[in-house]
């Protein structure tokens, strides 16, 4: 493939970087990234990857845009309320960069369709808001051997790390299973400061680009936690867990399944304040 004059201008600030160059920009243009969830995390991820010139962005989300989403889901604008999120997202991506091929799936990501959905893609992004979905994405990426960039947000905090299956610690190496129902609140119950989605999502996009380009040090075996109240990052070094129920020496998780959806009520605010 070769770039047009217009594309060379569009991507000139990338091409100037010795670590990217024309060769790297071609890798970006040939890459396919699958974003699960076109919401708080999915918005910055999809926008920055689109701006970067990613060849194909796959987006899956079964939701429609709600007015309460607009405080953080920057893919969607006020007139989009009530419209399909993936359709709204596709339009914004096209306006930003018509070079990008956007594949949209107005569907839920489930144990029965997960493997088919991620198969054509090079990198997967977690932009979902339930624990069962986060574990499902982790497991599917492990079985498919796809690099995954995990993201999670709550209140003023966020977490991001990359997973190269079989090589670095996976989500289950750290959290073997979802918390008991009702113990950990969702953003819907506990709130989320909108910008944290932007901060974590842009780091996820950065990691995806680095994985595609093969540059720098990936955020693997390191968990990056961010606290907006302190504007502080905490890096937690980790490693693969030999007792991981998925990628450990004696796995219990040998096929895809969905954990029970957690109950939508909060029992104990508990000791979340620690840090």
């Amino acid at each position: 493939m070769s770039f047009t004059e217009e594309q060379i201008t569009r991507y000139s600030r990338h091409i100037l970087l010795p670590e990217v160059g024309g060769k790297g920009q071609k890798k970006i243009a040939q890459a396919k990234v699958f974003v699960v969830g076109a919401g708080g995390l999915g918005s910055p991820v999809a926008l920055y990857l689109a701006a970067a010139g990613i060849g194909t962005i796959g987006l899956i989300d079964s939701d429609v845009v709600d007015l309460s989403n607009l405080q953080r889901q920057v893919l969607h604008h006020t007139p989009d309320v009530g419209r399909s999120k993936v359709q709204s997202a596709k339009e914004k991506i096209f306006l930003l960069n018509p070079d990008v091929n956007v594949e949209t799936y107005e569907d839920r990501f489930t144990a029965s369709n997960a493997m088919n959905y991620i198969a054509p893609y090079d990198v997967v992004i977690d932009g979902v808001d339930t624990f069962p979905a986060k574990f499902l994405i982790n497991d599917a990426c492990y079985f498919a051997g796809k690099p995954l960039v995990h993201g999670g947000i709550l209140r003023f905090e966020g977490r991001v790390f990359s997973i190269v299956p079989g090589q670095s610690a996976c989500y289950r190496c750290i959290f073997q299973q979802p918390p008991p129902p009702g113990l950990v609140p969702s953003c819907q119950e506990a709130g989320i400061i909108g910008v944290v989605a932007g901060i974590i999502g842009t780091i996820q996009a950065t990691e995806a680009l680095k994985l595609i380009l093969g540059i720098g040090d990936p955020l693997t075996d390191r968990i990056l936690d961010f606290d907006a109240r302190k504007t502080a990052f905490r890096e937690i070094r980790t490693k693969r867990n030999p007792r991981c129920p998925l990628c450990g020496n004696h796995p219990d998780v040998t096929e895809l399944f969905e954990h029970e959806q957690e109950a939508c009520q909060l029992q104990a605010p508990g000791a979340l304040g620690i840090s």
């Binding site: 969830g37 919401g39 708080g40 995390l41 999915g42 939701d63 989403n69 889901q73 977690d126 932009g127 979902v128 808001d129 339930t130 624990f131 986060k134 993201g151 999670g152 947000i153 709550l154 905090e157 966020g158 977490r159 190496c173 750290i174 959290f175 073997q176 979802p178 918390p179 008991p180 113990l183 950990v184 969702s186 953003c187 989320i192 989605a197 968990i223 936690d225 905490r234 937690i236 070094r237 980790t238 490693k239 867990n241 007792r243 957690e262 104990a268 508990g270 000791a271 979340l272 620690i274 840090s275």
Partner: protein, 66 residues
């Protein structure tokens, strides 16, 4: 005994990782616990010893994204 909790040195009276959790008033179901970069699964919290100078990290669940 002094250990480092989430990057900060703290004085604790604890024999096991579970003792540290209790002292910090943390429900073990709400966190993943790492001792010196090694994950300690929930069932091993009461039997895993802590020593002076150990580094303990608590990772609370964060399930949001949308």
């Amino acid at each position: 005994m002094q250990i480092t909790i989430n990057g900060k040195p703290e004085e604790v009276q604890a024999d096991t990782v579970m003792d540290v959790l209790k002292q910090k008033d943390i429900d073990p179901h709400m966190v993943a616990v790492e001792l010196n970069t090694q994950i300690v699964e929930r069932d091993r919290l009461p039997t895993t010893k802590v020593q002076d100078g150990d580094k303990v990290e608590f990772l609370f669940y964060m399930g949001g994204g949308a």
